[in-house]
């Protein structure tokens, strides 16, 4: 276990005027488990990167000191067992290196020069500790998100770090995958742990101390979770942190839904979606739920007119042809699709241009395009970013922009795939409020989602897709168990 001491620590990335993190004084004792909070942009990830020794000296400017067990993380001798920090990031896809699971855990041990005879015992020990249920030859490509993240955690634990850093380890996972990771983490007791996580309620059982970073610099609050949330809960909730106990009142439709906009009859896509029938009317929100692999995203693509079903038919908007046969310009005037990853939908280099694409394709005159763009920038709080490159936006900003681009062509039907996925509380409330307004204005909304809060707050109807086709009949093992 490690002890962490920060004295007036700060870091400014090269070429930036503002400090990413500044004036942080912090002492974390051996074996403490800390939840690191703060509004987005407070420098949580930068602080973890510094502790992991990932901020190269030439990539920015440092202030103050940072010490793990009395030495700077960048200058540490990694051969010393039990030393150094291990870090787990958000996305399991970009943490796994090798094609076979066991090889991936061995990768870090090879890099640290662990003698070959010790590597395989340590690999199976680490896999046991996270509850990895498969043999070491299991292909990493065949793992679900939660399983892959468990493997990434095992790869870090195999190095026996004294300090375990977790940078939103469940943010890219569905609820089942996130539960797998929390189960693995709750079984670990040998490390000092620092966890960054937006979903506080789920993280609280894993920690015994909460530290809140102040965006301008310094530490705003530090102490036992109950005390910190009693004193700062309101403010943190306003800033976007999912503080437990701050629920949001539902925004259900007061009216009966209007005429049907689109209807799917027994549509299916081979290997991806079992036959399903449903319809969406004007002025209602339909939530489509279901486990991973049930074909929710595929259904969104089919109803969005982007993918041809292999069976059944979709019809709507009084058109004889199914949506996937419409020209793109026709489609975008009727149905707006919002993808799970906003960046997939960006086609220009400026936020304002991004909003102008759709209306221009519909042949609107320049003055009207300008008016639509200005109106949307204002409504979705993007005006200050009009000239920014869409790829440089934060997660919440990118999500708002992707919804705005779909609204720019004023479609009657909106199809959204996991619109609230990974969003902070503030963006979440904005999105839910916006969608409620659109619904009350007579839009039909279909949202594919894992988010129970979203369903509770907004859905007028829910359609649950069937259980996933089981790819693998192996049961999940509990962490710490022997095979």
């Amino acid at each position: 276990m490690s002890e962490v001491v920060l004295r007036g620590f700060g870091w400014r990335h090269a070429g930036r005027r503002a400090w990413a993190v500044r004036d942080v004084d912090l002492h974390i004792a051996h074996g403490e488990r800390v939840l690191l909070l703060g509004p987005s942009g407070a420098g949580k990830s930068t602080l973890l990167a510094a502790l992991a020794g990932l901020l190269a000296e030439d990539s920015g400017e440092a202030a103050g000191t940072i010490e793990i067990d009395g030495s700077d993380p960048r200058a540490r001798d990694h051969r010393d067992p039990g030393q150094g920090a291990g870090i787990v990031f958000q996305d399991p896809q970009t943490q796994l290196v090798m094609a076979r699971s066991g090889d991936d855990v061995a990768f870090g041990l090879e890099n640290r020069g662990v003698p070959a005879a010790q590597i395989w015992p340590r690999v199976s020990d680490a896999l046991d500790r996270v509850g990895f249920p498969y043999p070491i030859t299991r292909s990493t490509a065949a793992l679900s998100g939660g399983e892959a993240q468990r493997l990434a955690l095992a790869g870090v634990l195999a190095l026996r770090p004294g300090l375990l850093l977790l940078d939103e380890p469940t943010a890219n996972l569905d609820p089942a995958g996130a539960a797998l990771i929390r189960e693995s983490l709750s079984a670990l007791r040998e490390q000092t742990t620092i966890l960054v996580e937006h979903r506080v309620a789920e993280a609280l059982p894993l920690v015994d101390r909460v530290v809140v970073l102040e965006p301008g610099g310094g530490v705003r609050a530090d102490g036992a979770p109950e005390l910190v949330f009693a004193a700062y809960g309101d403010r943190l909730a306003d800033e976007g942190v999912w503080v437990p106990g701050f629920t949001i009142p539902p925004l259900k439709s007061a009216r009966t839904p209007g005429p049907g906009l689109i209807r799917a009859e027994q549509v299916a896509v081979e290997q991806r979606l079992a036959p399903v029938s449903l319809g969406v009317g004007a002025g209602e929100v339909l939530a489509v739920t279901g486990p991973n692999g049930a074909g929710k995203s595929t259904l969104a693509l089919v109803l969005g007119g982007l993918l041809a079903p292999t069976a059944g038919r979709v019809c709507g908007f009084g058109d004889d042809r199914p949506p996937h046969r419409w020209r793109a310009a026709t489609l975008t005037g009727r149905i707006g699709s919002v993808f799970q990853n906003p960046e997939h939908q960006f086609v220009t280099a400026r936020v304002a241009d991004e909003l102008a694409v759709g209306p221009r394709r519909l042949g609107k005159p320049a003055a009207e395009v300008e008016r639509i763009v200005a109106d949307l920038l204002e409504r979705l709080r993007l005006a200050h970013l009009a000239a920014a490159n869409p790829y440089t936006l934060s997660g919440g900003e990118a999500r708002r922009l992707s919804v705005a681009t779909a609204l720019a062509t004023a479609p009657r039907l909106l199809v959204l795939d996991e619109p609230t996925f990974g969003q902070d509380r503030r963006t979440w409330i904005e999105l839910v409020t916006l969608l409620a307004t659109l619904r009350d204005d007579g839009h039909g909304i279909l949202a594919v989602t894992h988010d129970d809060d979203f369903v509770q707050a907004l859905a007028d109807r829910t359609h649950a897709l069937g259980t996933a086709r089981l790819r693998d009949p192996l049961p999940h093992r509990r962490p710490g168990g022997r095979p």
């Binding site: 990694h78 896809q93 290196v97 890099n111 070959a116 990493t140 310009a329 993808f339 960046e343 939908q345």
Partner: protein
């Protein structure tokens, strides 16, 4: 994409079991000298030797054909090219295709090229069909002293390749959702292709960057010497494979030189 490169051989076959570096070296020393000659007999002999060796690699001919069928397209392309553009139109006239005289010399030259294509490509296909990419990277680092930064880095990047296919499909659908399609206009289609490819590249670079940081965090490419969890050994049998391949190649060339068929490329 990985499917096309996964090993398909019976791993217990005597030559499939050989060290990946030995197999790669044998393929190179056997096939490269053959490029030195333009006659069709040398590559024909080489191809015969290669086909005879295939069972020792534990690969079935039908499996190899499924893996190597793009070569047939290449062969057909070569034939067309030679019929259209061959400079030497001597020999007996076999067929007149409008302005193009198909003569024996044209066909001989085409046959020589096609055989060379096969003789050089088959060993390469064979090596990758019988070798796991992880084993190849391990052996390159341990036996050929290739830098781990290069070999393991390439292996890690390779793992991300299949994601690109799925990403391309999402980008294409997302563009249609934004109201952008090319219809029948080839210039718009080209511009759309370029913009999609650019978005794919941006995404790939970001993912690559994140992967590099994660590898860094686990101590990759530090100054410290690595150890190897999977030991790759270069045995006498591996040396024998390389020496044997070199000997067969030399014999083939000696045979054609002796017969007076050798036509140096330069």
């Amino acid at each position: 994409m990985t499917l096309a490169l996964e090993p398909i051989a019976d791993p217990s076959a005597p030559l499939a079991r050989r060290n990946p570096v030995a197999k790669l070296a044998a393929a190179l020393v056997f096939s490269l000298p053959l490029i030195a000659t333009l006659d069709p007999v040398t590559p024909a002999i080489a191809l015969a030797i290669e086909l005879a060796a295939i069972p020792f690699f534990g690969v079935r001919y039908a499996t190899l054909l499924r893996r190597a069928w793009p070569l047939l397209i290449g062969a057909f392309g070569l034939l067309i090219t030679m019929v259209l553009f061959a400079a030497d139109r001597s020999g007996t006239l076999l067929l007149e295709l409008g302005p193009f005289d198909v003569t024996t010399s044209v066909l001989t030259a085409a046959l020589g090229l096609i055989l060379r294509l096969f003789a050089v490509a088959v060993p390469g296909v064979l090596v990758f069909a019988t070798t796991d990419p992880t084993d190849l990277a391990d052996a390159l680092v341990q036996n050929a002293k290739a830098p781990a930064r290069f070999a393991i880095g390439a292996l890690a990047a390779f793992r991300l390749l299949p994601l690109l296919g799925a990403e391309w499909q999402m980008l294409t659908l997302a563009r249609r959702a934004r109201g952008i399609d090319a219809g029948r206009n080839p210039i718009t289609a080209l511009r759309l292709f370029v913009s999609t490819a650019f978005a794919l590249l941006v995404g790939a670079l970001r993912r690559g960057g994140r992967l590099a940081v994660a590898m860094d965090a686990r101590g990759f490419d530090s100054a410290q010497p690595r150890t190897y969890a999977r030991k790759q050994v270069f045995r006498p049998a591996d040396t024998a494979l390389v020496v044997g391949a070199a000997a067969l190649s030399t014999l083939t060339l000696a045979f054609t030189v002796a017969l007076g068929l050798f036509r140096p490329i330069i």
